[in-house]
């Protein structure tokens, strides 16, 4: 036959388990135990509450520019749920819900977003990379970490998340290719929240689903309801297990929505209509999960109240700690530049810097040396 249609080897599945009323597909329900369900629920509530708190703090001048994650709680916590501490997580910048699940403290995240370098002190006991402000830039890094696991014969896997906008960066396409060619143990999660700042997904790419890129690179893909925590847990668990057992990479598209502004510096009314946001409010990941938990008896009014107040208290304590720690420390800006001894020129610059710094902190005029 001189002409025929050829199809790629890998396929793309679509997965959704919870409907908008919180009813689960009985066959697909991952049937998590009660404690796990409550733990996940609490993590989602914590992410949402912290989100609101950080926006308020920013508006009151107590926080730097901040990128809220409202609406993406299921996509984020579902993604990292099945990772082991020894696995690696390479997050994009809009990931604090997932980062808290991994062990990042609230005060630490506040330090980061309020412009303190100490915010990059990585929590002990987990293999995470610092989040990436530069879009897509961390994805090759994550892929390299995964390739290293193969070289070193570990059974650790890597999970990295990035946005729909990031999917246009060469870095991301190159990573997908490397991962597939090297059969690297990595899970790529594209959190498709509908927008890259002002650009809607339809103008970012001509394809209907980012997951369709997976077969093009030679790996399985999945398009998952990203506002459905059960679907996110199931899909990533499957991908993580596959990676761990030598089955190579997976690309998961988590279809979700950015309910808030891009960052606190952004005004979304310029580029999107309120009714679009309202449509997605009906699909809110937390209220859907809540309905499921209430119907199955895992949650009731009193547990819900307890969780809300536990979360409030945890955030209050985190914020207290942040306030105590939030003292500009200008001494260290040279200290992590090189792993080896500082080159003499840099040492001289550091001395000059510290001299000027001391004068400025003391409110003194600089005097010529």
């Amino acid at each position: 036959m001189p002409r025929k249609t050829i199809v790629p080897e890998n396929t793309v599945d679509e997965l959704s388990i919870l409907d908008e009323e919180g009813r689960a597909d009985a066959e697909l329900d991952p049937k998590m135990d009660r404690d796990s369900l409550l733990k996940v629920y609490q993590a989602m509530v914590k992410a949402r509450t912290l989100d609101d708190r950080m926006i308020t703090m920013q508006r009151q001048g107590q926080m730097g520019t901040f990128a809220p994650g409202r609406g993406q709680e299921a996509a984020q916590i579902g993604s990292v749920y099945s990772l082991r501490p020894t696995d690696w997580f390479a997050p994009s910048y809009r990931s604090f819900g997932a980062q808290m699940w991994r062990g990042w403290a609230i005060d630490q995240l506040m330090m980061l977003w309020d412009g303190y370098f100490e915010g990059f002190d990585l929590p002990e006991g987990i293999n995470d990379l610092p989040f990436s402000i530069v879009i897509g830039c961390h994805v090759p890094l994550a892929t390299g970490v995964a390739m290293a696991q193969t070289c070193q014969g570990t059974d650790s896997v890597v999970l990295t998340n990035f946005g729909d906008g990031a999917s246009s960066e060469g870095d991301v396409s190159e990573s997908l290719n490397f991962a597939a060619v090297h059969n690297a143990p990595i899970v790529f999660i594209c959190e498709n929240n509908g927008y890259a700042i002002s650009l809607p997904f339809e103008k970012q790419t001509k394809i209907k689903s980012i997951a369709h890129r997976a077969p093009a690179f030679g790996m399985p893909g999945m398009r998952v309801d990203g506002n459905d925590i059960l679907a996110m847990v199931s899909a990533t668990k499957e991908a993580i297990d596959r990676a761990r057992s030598g089955g190579g990479p997976t690309l998961i598209e988590a279809v979700t929505f950015r309910m808030e502004m891009h960052t606190t510096a952004d005004d979304p009314t310029v580029y999107r209509a309120d009714n679009e946001v309202a449509r997605w409010t009906a699909r809110d990941p937390i209220s859907r999960f809540e309905k499921y938990l209430l119907a199955s008896g895992v949650l009731d009014a009193s547990i819900k109240t307890r969780i809300a107040s536990d979360v409030d208290e945890e955030i209050r304590l985190g914020r207290e700690k942040f306030k105590q720690r939030a003292k500009p420390n200008a001494q260290e800006v040279f200290d992590y530049m090189y792993a080896a001894d500082m080159p003499p020129e840099l040492k001289a610059q550091k001395n000059e810097y510290l001299r000027k710094l001391a004068a400025r902190l003391a409110g003194k005029k600089l005097t010529p040396v």
Partner: protein, 326 residues
């Protein structure tokens, strides 16, 4: 003459050039519907439509690479990179296409395009949003690099950049987008690329700066005069490449002393080039080594402590006094 800030002045330059020349196009992330994250392209999509004002997918290499292609085909793209910290995503396109296509087509294809990007510190921004790496582009043969220091200059310099037949890197000091207003004439004017400007006349020392550093440098000149009786001449470099050696040489030949100020890292920075030029052109007149007041050779600090990194007027005064008392 209407008074406007630098953001509006840049918008005016884009608008007038889109209106007067159908081959001018504007492209970049969020430049259309959103009008750009700093609102420099505000209203342009509405006025000129999506063929002239294009929202790009999130890919800087794509933006610059396709802009060069458009230029080769006869358009005059003005491509915005949202922050200069993301120009590295387009590094290979800048070096290998933007800077070279004219040369490697032996003059067949002109690359008449502008890459605009906000640069520099001082706005309490997150990581990667505050650096000054103009030296990369000044170091790249085939490009021109210009930086305005205020509204009127910004408008006339962008006008000149769009009209320049060669690729121009246009860095915008974001700290002063809305810091002050100036009168900007309605009629287009062009500031000649390759020229520096003496913005304050003096006889005792030459202070050389550009971009957002002009303001602390002028403050330093005031302080030197009021407190120390030293009359400083201040040069706004404006054109980083080509660099106006003549203006530098004429000033230093008169004053015998110089301090160069910039935000970017010191080593192999623009200051090093300025010092070399002064050495080559005015060595016999020098009474003291030419000093540099610059950023340090470190990554731009997180914003809580950025003020200790950025050169300020006091640091300029200190270096100037050292030079005078040498």
């Amino acid at each position: 003459m209407p008074k406007m800030n630098m953001a509006r002045a840049l918008n005016l330059a884009l608008k007038q050039n889109l209106a007067s020349d159908p081959t001018v196009v504007v492209m970049g992330e969020d430049v259309g519907v959103d009008g750009g994250v700093f609102r420099i392209t505000k209203g342009l999509l509405e006025e000129f439509g999506p063929k002239r004002v294009m929202d790009s997918p999130l890919a800087e290499a794509g933006i610059i690479g396709t802009a060069v292609g458009m230029a080769a085909a006869g358009l005059k793209p003005v491509a915005e990179i949202q922050f200069s910290g993301f120009t590295y995503q387009a590094f290979h396109q800048i070096e290998q296409n933007m800077a070279r296509l004219h040369n490697r087509s032996r003059g067949r294809y002109k690359v008449q395009m502008v890459m605009r990007a906000p640069y520099g510190g001082g706005i309490r921004a997150v990581e990667h949003h505050s650096e000054s790496r103009e030296a990369y582009w000044a170091h790249t043969p085939g490009l021109k690099v210009v930086i305005p220091s205020g509204p009127r200059l910004a408008r006339s310099l962008l006008h000149a950049a769009i009209h320049d037949p060669d690729p121009v890197i246009f860095y915008e000091p974001k700290a002063i987008y809305r810091a002050f207003k100036e009168e900007v004439p309605e009629e287009p004017e062009a500031f000649e690329i390759g020229k520096a400007r003496v913005v304050r006349v003096g006889s005792d020392i030459t202070l050389i700066a550009y971009g957002a550093m002009i303001r602390p440098t002028l403050e330093a000149a005031d302080d030197l005069e009021e407190t120390h009786g030293i009359r400083a001449e201040v040069i706004d470099l404006i054109s980083i490449w080509p660099m106006d050696t003549e203006t530098l040489a004429a000033s230093v030949s008169k004053t015998g002393r110089a301090v160069v100020v910039h935000e970017g890292p010191r080593s192999c920075g623009i200051g090093a080039e300025v010092v070399a030029r002064i050495n080559e052109s005015a060595f016999a007149h020098l009474e003291a080594p030419v000093a540099r007041v610059t950023g340090y050779d470190i990554h731009f600090p997180f914003f809580q402590v950025e003020r200790f990194y950025l050169p300020d007027s006091e640091a300029v005064v200190e270096s100037a006094l050292e030079a005078v008392n040498y």
